[in-house]
């Protein structure tokens, strides 16, 4: 399973997809991952930062959407206070 989480004032919104179904070209799973990719790109353009979180909790900042990532978290634009 893959998951994109987008932090916002509403808490985090999530999009999930079954990676195996994506590989099998299942239309629903493909639509979900494409929607996740679109949201990722839009958020990045708006100044958000994205992190790939591995199963062992390793965190890595990413600039491009990783279809193989188990979990991606998008943090909205941050500013020094």
């Amino acid at each position: 399973m893959g998951m994109l989480r987008i932090m916002s004032r509403r808490g985090d919104d999530r999009i999930t997809w079954d990676s195996q179904k994506v590989e099998a070209n299942d239309p629903e799973a493909v639509a979900a991952i494409e929607e996740a990719e679109r949201i990722f790109e839009k958020a990045r353009q708006e100044g958000a930062t994205a992190f790939k979180v591995e199963a062992d909790s390793t965190v890595k900042r990413i600039d491009e959407f990783d279809r193989t990532a188990e979990q991606t978290v998008i943090v909205p634009l941050v500013v020094g206070g």
Partner: protein, 150 residues
């Protein structure tokens, strides 16, 4: 004196309850929106708490609950720890147990408290240098200038 105070408090609470009751009967839906807003806030907080629970280890979560902050070891600087408050405020930076600076970094749009903690954790662990570049740095306060052991 105490009885008078209790009486005033009781009357005030009664008026408050009555006001809430009458507003809830309002036909223009303003309280409906208020209810939605409160319920949305609670829902956001509960989702943020769930995310926090998933992103933190058991010991980190317990630390946050017990002490009100989360300590994140620096991935690149030996003996440095970032102390992230659980309910907003400056992130305190300690080196070998001494407060060395305080950092202020916040999301441009308001996030639930739990999400803010996760935000700091991800940014510190995922790209510490960028985190330090974006944050405003402050000298530790007068009290924290003393060597504060962890």
């Amino acid at each position: 004196m105490l009885e008078t105070l209790s009486l005033f408090l009781g009357i005030w609470l009664l008026f408050l309850l009555l006001a809430i009751y009458y507003l809830s009967q309002s036909p223009d839906g303003s309280v409906g929106r208020f209810r939605e807003s409160v319920s949305g806030h609670l829902s956001a907080e509960s989702r943020a708490k769930a995310l926090l629970r998933e992103m933190l280890t058991e010991s980190q979560y317990q630390q946050l609950i017990k002490f009100g902050y989360l300590e994140i070891p620096s991935p690149s600087i030996d003996n440095r720890v970032y102390r992230v408050p659980g309910s907003g405020g400056l992130v305190k930076v300690y080196e070998r147990g001494c407060a060395v600076m305080e950092l202020c970094l916040q999301p441009a749009e308001p996030l639930p408290d739990g999400d803010v903690v996760v935000m700091h954790k991800l940014m510190i662990e995922g790209n510490e240098q960028e985190y330090l570049q974006k944050a405003n740095h402050f000298a530790p306060g007068i009290i924290s200038l003393r060597c504060q052991h962890l």
